[in-house]
Amino acid sequence: MILDSYEAYRATGFRPKVCILGSGPAGTTIARKLGAAGIPVVVLEAGSREFSDESQDFYRGTTVGDFYFDLDITRLRYMGGSSNHWAGWCRVLDKQDFEPKSWAPDTGWPIRRADIEPYLPEVHDILELPDFRPDMPISDDIRWVQLIKSPAVRFGEKYADELDRSKNIAVVLNTYATELAGDGKRVTSARLWSNGQDAGTFSADYFIVCTGGLENSRLLLWSNQRSNGGVVPNAAALGRYWMEHPTFEGGNAILANYSEFEVDAVNEAFFSPTMAAMERLQIMNFGIRLIETPYAGVKRLIADLACTAPDAAEWAAYQLSQNLRCAAQLYVAWEQAPLASNQIELSKTDVDHAGVPRIELHWKKSELERRTLVEGLKLFGTTLIERDLGRVRLMDWIANGEAYPTNEETAGHHHMGGTRMGTDVTRSVVDANCKVHGMDNLYVGGSSVFCTSGQANPTTTITALACRLGDHLSKVVAV
C-alpha cells in the first residue's frame, strides 16, 4: 500500500519487521525483495509522489573546496529519489575496482565483484537492460568497454502499482526520519517529521538507511551526535571518503575509422585502462567517452593539426574526405582516490525546517586524479597511434597544466562513500553485509557504502548491492 501521511499509515495498524528509510533505487529494491520473501516492511519516504520546492529545500547545503553543484540540485527528494532524473547510463563496477591498489591508499573492498554477479540477472530486469558484451582490449593498456544507455527507469513510477497492491509493503510518503536513536547495540527508534510537524517516534526490529549518497551520512552523523555515539559506535570514518566522478571535456580525437567502434544507439563509445596500465602509471580508473564532433569542428581540428604536424593533418584531411564522421570530443570521467579529507560534515550554523543541521560537503580533487586525467588521455592517444587508429589532442587547460574549468560538466551527480564498507572499523562504517559495525539491526543501502568509485555510473552496482542486501536480510529477519 502507499499512504500519503504517517497519520494515515498509523490508522492501518500495519506491523512491519523492517523499516527502510528512502524509496530511491536502493530502498525500493530492498523493499521488493523483502516483500517477496513475505517479510512485512515499511518504507518511510520524506517526499511525496511529485517534486516540490518545499521538499527540495531540505536538501540545501554548502560545499567547501572545489566547485560542485548546489546540493539541492544534484539529487531529488520525492518518491523514487534521484531515479526521477537520472540519465540511465548503466555498467557494473569493474572486477579491478574491488581490488586493493598499492599506489592508492584505502582502496580495496571486503567483497569481490563475484559476490554481486549472481544478482545481475535481477538487476537487468529492474533496470531493463540488455546483456553487456564483454570488454574488448584494443591494446595492452586500453579496453573498449560498454556503458548501456538504459530507459532510465523511474523507480517511483515503475513500481507504484506493485507497491500499492503489496500486502507486505507499506510506503509512507511525506514522512521524514529526522534521527535514529540507539544504545550502541541496536537502533531503538526513529524520530519522524510528517507533513510539516513532529510526528513522534517509530520502532521496528530492523532499520535500513537508504536516503542517498549524501543524506545517509547526514542522518547517521546527526543521529550519532544526538545519541552520544549510540547509532554508529565506530564513527571514525563516518561521513569520510566521499567520492564523485569528476567529468570534463578532455580533448579531441581524429579517427581513421569512426565506425570501427560500433558506437551505440547514441553514437558514443567508451574506453578504460587495463589494470596493468593503471599499475604501471600509478593512476586510478577512468572512462573516456567519444562523442561525435560536428563537421565544422572537425575542420577546425584539422586546421589546428596542420599548424603542428602537416603530415598528420594531410592524413586527417584524407579521412575527412572519405568519411565525414572522423572526429570525436573526448569526455573523461574518472575514479576519485578515496580520501578521508573528502567528507560530509554537519553545518554548525544552518539547519532545515525540522531542525536537522544541513550538509557541509568538503570536496577536493587530488594530484593523483590530475595524473589520472592527463596520463589517461596520453595513454589513449598513444594507443590510437600504435594501433594506427587516430590522433588525440588534449584541451589547452590540460596541456598547459591550468586549473579545472568551472563552466563544464564537473561531475556525474554520483554521490559515493561516507559510510564505506570494510573490515577495519577505523576506516569503514559498514561490514561486507552492509551492517553498521557494532550494531545488530542497522544496515545501509546505496552508494554511500562504496569503498572506491571505479569509473562506472553507480546505479547498476547500487541495485545489485540492494538485491544482495535484500536476500541477506530475508534470511536474517526470517530467523
Partner: protein, 60 residues
C-alpha cells in the same frame, strides 16, 4: 597524393580561416632533430606538441 590534392581547395581555405591567428605562432619542433649532434630521432617516438599526442614522423 599530396595533402593539398587530397583536401579540396575550398575545405582547406575554410579550415585555415577557422584557425585562431595565435596558433600560427605555435611551437613547431624539428621532426628529424638531426642537426643537434644527437643520434637520429626515432620516427615512432611519441611526442606531445601543442597538446597533440603524435609520433615524431607526424611532424615532418
Amino acid at each position: 597524393m599530396s595533402f593539398f590534392h587530397r583536401m579540396s581547395r575550398r575545405t582547406l581555405v575554410r579550415a585555415m580561416i577557422a584557425l585562431p591567428a595565435l596558433s600560427l605562432a605555435r611551437k613547431l619542433p624539428d621532426a628529424n632533430a638531426t642537426d643537434t649532434g644527437l643520434p637520429q630521432a626515432d620516427p615512432n617516438e611519441i611526442v606531445e606538441v601543442n597538446g597533440w599526442i603524435l609520433k615524431r614522423s607526424d611532424l615532418a
